[in-house]
């Protein structure tokens, strides 16, 4: 069969338009949804119904939206962690491990304990944040140092350290701190919990339940089920971190150095930059952000150190950073989308649907990069011209 047209890929020589990267990101997500819908249809499902369900389960009400944000919180931090490393073309795929070690180090504050158990919340949480970031930073330091000093490939080392981190955590929760034989530590005291909406709701419940004006107002905007909302202040960490990273990337001296090293390390060396130190530093900051995500997860959600605190946040963070084109604010938006996928994944049937969607999005994002480098053209073939 002869098609009247052939598809040609032309290498782009001119600049890509400014809107194209964003458009391909959004386009990949849309196409991923459509492709998943088609697959669903083929296996006999009802795509539109599923889509409606997906929406209801994630953004449909304040309560479900709160769930989505809870899942997005670690993704924001981990996405930023990957973004800062990728900016310098350091392929840190160890955010997962840094997340676990961050969680571990933060728990030490409670489990050793490092401060007296009845210390004020601000002290305990503050110290846990520091420890979480420190733990992640140390986990980033090793591959960073090996890369900077001995040119050891960071992809391999960070990947390997992921396994080490998980096993290290397991050792402590199975053996040392096991709560009656379960693979988890005892629940932390309340002063090691991040503030949650539901806790406040309970505190002020008398006030709200009395049918006052506030209760009416909340009901009117659909916030009546506030008492069940698990949203915690970890999301604020994410937003503050995003603003901070934006300042680093766009305004700071260090951000300029990161960009220069990422673009041309030889020129950076020539300009007097200390590349060794910057590699280590970037890996540590990347690790610290991932570690903070781990801390936020155990203090905001599970309230103890346990097995499987991450359903692969560290790896999803890579996709988040990539889809966001390393822009800190875009990271927030993409993280919310992926948070929604995780939430929906728990409720949608068949249960693999959300992971399939995630996989297809990744596939689309990677293939859409072709569009950034090539122009696609339809070229009339010879036979078609003759026939005409």
């Amino acid at each position: 069969m002869n098609l009247p047209f052939t598809i040609k890929f032309e290498k782009r020589v001119e600049d890509i338009p400014k809107w194209l990267p964003a458009a391909t990101s959004i386009g990949s997500v849309l196409i991923a949804f459509i492709v998943s819908g088609i697959i669903l249809k083929i296996i006999g499902g009802q795509p539109l119904l599923v889509l409606k369900f997906f929406y209801e389960a994630t953004f449909g009400s304040w309560a479900t939206f709160s769930d989505t944000i809870v899942k997005a919180t670690p993704l924001i931090l981990v996405g930023l962690a990957c973004a800062v490393a990728f900016k310098m073309k350091l392929w840190n795929i160890g955010a997962e491990g840094q997340f676990y070690i961050g969680a571990f180090a933060a728990s030490l504050v409670v489990l050793i304990p490092m401060v007296s158990p009845d210390s004020p919340k601000i002290v305990v949480i503050g110290l846990m944040m520091l420890m979480g970031m420190l733990g992640g930073a140390i986990w980033g330091f090793f591959p960073g140092y090996l890369k900077a000093r001995f040119q050891v490939n960071e992809i391999i080392t960070t990947l390997m350290l992921n396994y080490v981190a998980v096993l290290w955590n397991n050792f402590w929760i199975f053996d040392k701190w096991s709560d009656g034989g379960f693979q988890m530590t005892p629940t932390f005291e309340k002063n090691a919990w991040l503030a949650r909406v539901t806790d406040y709701a309970r505190e002020y419940s008398a006030f709200i339940d009395e049918g006052g004006g506030l209760a009416k107002f909340l009901t009117s905007i659909g916030l009546d089920r506030i008492s069940g909302m698990t949203l915690h202040v970890g999301v604020a960490f994410g937003i503050v971190a995003a603003v901070f990273m934006w300042w680093i990337f766009d305004r700071s001296r260090w951000g300029y150095e990161i960009k220069l090293i990422g673009d041309n390390p030889k020129a950076a060396r020539y300009a007097g930059l200390n590349i060794t130190r910057n590699i280590v530093l970037v890996m540590m900051v990347s690790g610290a952000l991932a570690g903070l995500a781990g801390m936020s997860e155990i203090t905001g959600v599970v309230h103890r150190l346990q097995e499987r605190i991450s359903p692969g946040y560290g790896f999803t963070g890579i996709i988040v950073a990539w889809l966001a084109k390393l822009n800190p604010f875009a990271v927030i938006i993409v993280a919310i989308l992926f948070g929604a996928l995780i939430v929906a994944g728990r409720e949608l049937q068949p249960s693999g649907l959300a992971s399939m969607l995630q996989g297809i999005i990744l596939f689309m994002v990677i293939s859409s990069d072709v569009l950034l480098r090539y122009k696609v053209k339809l070229v009339r073939t010879q036979t078609a011209v003759e026939a005409a």
Binding site: K11, V13, D15, S252, K259, D263, K266, G272, N274
Partner: protein, 513 residues
């Protein structure tokens, strides 16, 4: 039509980039069997026009004919199929592979088994035909720049090129290599090939070209003019639209204190072979010390040792402070500026803007650096001033470095380094790739530096430039100083002899003081 058609005919070619009209209705014809020079100022649109002919860019409008047939290229492959081959200024070779492997790369033959020995023979035969010597079994990283260029030429010939485009092929070559290249070019046209040759060195153009086309700001100012009777001066006038003084004026001046002192320095090159052997020299404030050497005799390594980019033994002091084997920042803090040999690989960051490229050395200090942050408003302001002063042709200071023409990128680097008001300037081939007008202004700027009391270490392969700018010239051969001569008393033949390693007559040693 009985007469032989043109090898190439380009008519009314228009190529636009955002904010730039790079080619404005350009005409160019290439006769079969001729060497056609393409001249023009930096950013005039020469590379752009040739990239269109090689299938890399698509003109917005215009007609191209190759051997009389109208063509419409969608990719370099289409151009190769029509017998057009381009030797780019930046080579596109795989360093870890052999010459033969590089030449075969991307071809359909050999299909499956690499019968390399057989192909080595084919390539040797091709070499004989055109006098392009290079060992087919050598790995590319082992080759000198000149040899790598020969590989690039062989690559296009092997693909059956009838028309060769050479974009500033001589910019990276030593004088001897240039002579060889000219012979090769002659032998190629004798065998029926046609060549388009871009160069800023007018004496080369007068020496080899049959006809010349001149571009200015994207427009043709001389179309296929016969070279007969044209002098360097005529060409320069056609290019820049005004008379060019070929000799800058150097005022006599007493040098001051020693700024750079290099003592007993030994260093290896990238291949681990000794490149500098117990080399010692001094440069004083307000003095230009020129380094004359045949390419690959240690002058590049000398620049890298002084600027902290290459480890060495011995001592390198700037203003009395030891900088050898210290990170580059130590020398930079001592007031060292460096115009590196490799402007794309070392001197600039391709995906960063002109602004970002001009603050590479000064982003730490006021008024650009401001505590932890960078004041980008000041940085842009400064970049605009430099763009104006150094006549950098670009749509704006937000233009990315990789979009600049070769000469304009060099100007960005020069602007950054000279504006740092250094105490020591290490300038390696500072005028490489610049047009005659720009050479004149950069040389003037270097002399102004000297008058302001900067010590300048000038490494150049242009003997004329060395003689015009230097106070003294140190001749290096095989990593050793063969002699240091006063530039105004220098005898070119003598320098030439020393460059090839011949011992120095005593009288000029005295002159060196």
């Amino acid at each position: 039509m009985s007469e032989t058609p043109y090898a190439v005919e380009m008519k009314d070619i228009v190529i636009r980039f955002p904010g730039v009209l790079a080619n404005d209705h350009v005409n160019l014809t290439l006769k079969q069997g001729e060497i056609h020079a393409l001249l023009g100022e930096n950013g005039a649109g020469k590379s752009t026009l040739m990239n269109a002919l090689a299938g890399l860019y698509k003109p917005a409008s215009g007609i191209m004919r190759v051997f009389g047939e109208t063509v419409n290229f969608n990719s370099p492959k289409d151009a190769i199929a029509r017998g057009i081959g381009m030797v780019h200024q930046h080579f596109m070779l795989v360093p870890t592979q052999t010459v033969t492997e590089n030449i075969l790369l991307g071809l359909n033959e050999p299909r499956f088994f690499m019968k390399l020995a057989e192909y080595d023979q084919k390539i040797l035969a091709l070499q004989d035909q055109f006098g392009l010597r290079v060992d087919p079994t050598a790995k590319v990283w082992q080759l000198s720049v000149g040899e790598q260029q020969r590989v690039e030429i062989l690559k296009t010939l092997y693909r059956g090129a009838q028309i060769l485009i050479m974009d500033e092929p001589t910019a990276v070559l030593a004088p001897q290599e240039i002579d060889e290249l000219m012979k090769t070019m002659r032998s190629m046209v004798d065998q029926g090939k046609s060549i388009i040759f871009i160069s800023h060195k007018l004496h080369e153009v007068t020496a080899v070209a049959d006809r010349v086309t001149v571009l200015r700001k994207g427009k043709v100012t001389a179309e296929g003019h016969s070279m007969e009777g044209l002098t360097k001066r005529d060409l320069a006038r056609l290019m820049v639209g005004r008379g060019v003084i070929f000799a800058v004026e150097k005022k006599p001046q007493e040098p001051g204190d020693v700024v750079l002192s290099v003592k007993d320095v030994e260093a290896e090159n990238d291949k681990g072979v000794p490149a500098l052997r117990k080399l010692s020299l001094e440069v004083r404030a307000g003095e230009i010390l020129g380094i004359a050497a045949i390419a690959g005799n240690g002058q590049s390594e000398l620049a890298e040792v002084v600027t902290g980019l290459r480890p060495c033994t011995g001592s390198v002091k700037i203003n009395g402070k030891e900088v050898a084997n210290k990170p580059p920042i130590v020398a930079i803090k001592q007031g060292m500026a460096h115009v590196p040999e490799d402007r794309t690989g070392v001197g600039s960051a391709p995906n960063m803007t002109i602004t970002e490229n001009t603050i590479m050395k000064c982003y730490r200090e006021n008024p650009i650096g401001n505590g932890w942050s960078i004041n980008f408003t000041n940085a842009r302001q400064r970049a605009r001033t430099l763009k104006e002063k150094y006549d950098i042709l670009a749509p704006s200071v937000r233009t990315m470095a990789r979009k600049l023409s070769g000469g304009n990128l060099q100007k960005v680097i020069l602007a950054r380094e000279i504006s740092a008001q250094p105490q020591l300037m290490v300038a390696v081939q500072p005028t490489r790739g610049l047009d005659v007008g720009a050479i004149e202004s950069i040389q003037t700027l270097l002399l102004e530096q000297r008058e302001a009391g900067t010590a300048v270490l000038l490494i150049s392969e242009e003997m004329e430039e060395l003689l015009a700018l230097s106070d003294r010239i140190a001749v290096i051969s095989d990593g050793r100083i063969m002699g240091i001569v006063d530039a105004d008393k220098a005898d070119i033949n003598e320098i030439g002899l020393m460059m090839t390693g011949t011992a120095v007559p005593a009288k000029s040693m005295e002159a060196a003081g």
